[in-house]
């Protein structure tokens, strides 16, 4: 009896599509809609800029040319130059790196921590540990997010790593709440009950049976959250509390543009456009993702 059960399970495992197949399936479903397709293309462009910045950028982002400062769009500086005569286009392309790095870094750290704590708390529903985790989540959620990020950066000091830490810290309870709520539901399903009856260890049940089945809503949040992280990185850098100059970040470019707002409008317009572009990209993509992961809407 026992051998047949494992046989069936193994056969089934071969039949279920692997991660890569799932991934292509989801991606195809996103790209089927116009919005999802545009969002995916935009994000692909951002990723390309981030990875291939040294080859795509026409100039060194930190190369100063004081004679040509505040140049308008034209040749050879396609989008003009800033107050030190640095090429705006190159700085925007390099700024993609910071945006992508912060978005992916902060979102992955916060989601991994949040989901882990949320699942463990949900699995131990009603126990002291559960209440402690909920308490922890609620404390962090009590702060207006940007203010908490400000406070953490104020204490740790401004730098790229600290911005990622601060943003991840402000966001993890949101993933935790989703993961916990989903776990409460999933742990009552028959397959989890069966695994428990077979005497599997809780840690194995959590990793193998619960976590994969609660990820869909978490992933949908990831997309939206990346946009938020890009905004806040720019915001913190704009305040001078994020990435340190002379690193090219859209927020720092806006900060410099704000200082010289009377002199050169272009130094504000271009980074604003870059931020707007990435916001639309993430929002369209995550909308597509939400539809793709929702079986009810997928086939509409």
């Amino acid at each position: 009896m026992n051998t047949t059960a494992t046989d069936v399970m193994q056969k089934k495992r071969r039949l279920t599509p692997g991660w890569t197949q799932n991934f292509t399936l989801i991606f195809k479903s996103i790209a089927k809609k116009k919005g999802g397709l545009i969002g995916s293309i935009f994000i692909a462009i951002m990723l390309l800029c981030a990875i291939a910045a040294p080859w795509l950028a026409p100039f060194d982002p930190n190369e100063q040319n004081i004679v040509q400062r505040f140049a308008g769009p034209g040749l050879p500086h396609l989008l003009g130059t800033d107050y030190l005569g640095r090429d705006t286009l190159s700085r925007i392309i390099y700024g993609c790196r910071i945006a992508v790095l912060v978005a992916f870094g902060a979102v992955s750290i916060s989601s991994i921590f949040g989901v882990f704590l949320g699942v463990v708390a949900g699995y131990n529903e009603g126990k002291k540990f559960d209440y402690f985790i909920i308490w922890l989540f609620d404390i962090v959620r009590s702060f207006p997010q940007i203010i908490l990020a400000l406070a953490i950066v104020a204490v740790l000091g401004p730098s790229l790593v600290n911005v990622v830490i601060a943003l991840a810290f402000t966001a993890f309870p949101f993933y935790g709440r989703i993961a916990r709520a989903q776990t409460l539901f999933v742990k009552e399903t028959d397959y989890v009950k069966a695994a428990q009856a077979m005497g599997q260890k809780p840690i194995k049940i959590i990793i193998k049976h619960i976590t994969p089945n609660i990820l869909a809503p978490v992933i949908v949040c990831l997309g939206m959250d990346m946009a938020t992280m890009v905004i806040w990185e720019s915001g913190l850098s704009f305040l001078g509390l994020g990435v340190r100059p002379p690193t090219a970040s859209w927020g720092i470019m806006l900060r410099n543009g704000y200082k010289y707002i009377q002199v050169s409008p272009w130094t504000i317009v271009w980074p604003s456009l870059a931020i707007a572009f990435s916001m639309i990209a993430f929002s369209l993509f995550s909308d597509g993702l939400r539809v793709a992961l929702d079986p009810k809407e997928r086939n509409r």
Partner: protein, 311 residues
């Protein structure tokens, strides 16, 4: 419902205690000696000693926590390291400016959002829903500080019709100083509230009681604007409570850009100056208001919408 409200209110207390602990521990996490970190490397030993005794930094951890909590309970948030003003008086001044901004933003955004959303749902043949889509897209694409910078660029620098900095004095001046910051903050809210109203209006218009009203030959207009709208704006209204709380702490960037002396600017200036008593006090006030707004929104949502079940 009452039981849920009661539990929800009670839960605020342990949360706020946690918030206080976290805020208190902020100074503890400062790299190195807090007094040196606040005063900078050129501070004399006498200055450091004076600050240490003023902020009780020379005492042990539990004693400092005791002082901190005692102060909070007595309504004393400490004094600014630099200006010597009491933190609560600084807060009281700043909070007014932020509150005016937050309330104006949301009031205007709510009126425009509800009109656009409701009208778009009633007259689906008009281009209103297109307008709503564009506004929502703008709200998504332009975070408040980007919108603020662009508005400042256009309406203060290129076409100087609005004042760029400060909060203004006197009625008209204050209004003029509010327009650009409120617009920057409000774009996202208009789109969001319009979509929210639109969706709930579409739902409500399909409800049985609307069909009944139609069967009684009640004029189309009064069905839409009296019978349906009354129920359709419930979710929008509950979101507004949340919005005030969010904006009180979330107007940071806009306040900095337009140099409005509000809560956000106070907090950021405290960060620049490493003025930890002001920083802690500002964050505490913003957080308490945020928590209260959440509380009111949660509870009122349950009361106005009896379909929501809590266990």
């Amino acid at each position: 419902m009452l039981k849920y409200s009661f539990k929800r209110v009670l839960w605020v207390f342990p949360t706020l205690i946690g918030v206080l602990l976290l805020l208190f521990s902020l100074t503890y996490f400062l790299p190195g000696d807090p007094a040196t970190a606040i005063l900078g490397p050129r501070a004399t030993p006498e200055l450091i000693e004076e600050l240490n005794s003023r902020l009780h930094l020379d005492r042990s951890m539990p004693v400092r926590l005791g002082y901190y909590l005692k102060g909070i309970v007595q309504g004393d948030l400490g004094t600014s390291v630099w200006s010597g003003h009491s933190v609560s008086s600084l807060m009281a001044e700043a909070l007014g400016h932020t509150a005016i901004l937050a309330v104006t933003t949301l009031a205007v955004a709510a009126v425009i959002g509800i009109i656009l959303g409701a009208f778009g749902a009633i007259r689906q043949d008009t281009p209103i829903s297109g307008v709503v889509t564009i506004i929502s897209l703008m709200g998504v694409a332009l975070p408040d500080f980007v919108a603020a910078l662009l508005l400042m660029l256009v309406f203060c620098v290129k076409i100087p019709i609005f004042p760029a900095i400060g909060a203004g004095e006197g009625f008209w001046d204050i209004i003029m100083h509010l327009i650009l910051p409120a617009t920057a903050l409000g774009i996202g809210w208009v789109g969001y509230l319009a979509r929210l109203t639109h969706e709930s209006m579409v739902d409500v218009l399909e409800a049985d009681y609307i069909r009944t009203a139609r069967a009684f030959a009640i004029p189309q207009k009064s069905i839409a604007y009296v019978y349906a709208l009354k129920n359709a704006i419930i979710p929008t209204i509950t979101v507004l409570g949340l919005g005030v709380g969010k904006l009180l702490g979330g107007a940071v960037f806009v306040e900095i850009i337009f140099s409005r002396p509000g809560l956000g600017k106070l907090i950021v200036d405290a960060v620049y100056a490493r003025d930890f008593p002001v920083l802690q006090g500002g964050i505490l006030i913003a957080t308490v208001l945020f928590v209260l707004a959440n509380l009111v929104a949660d509870i009122s949502y349950g009361f106005v919408n009896p379909q929501i079940q809590y266990d």
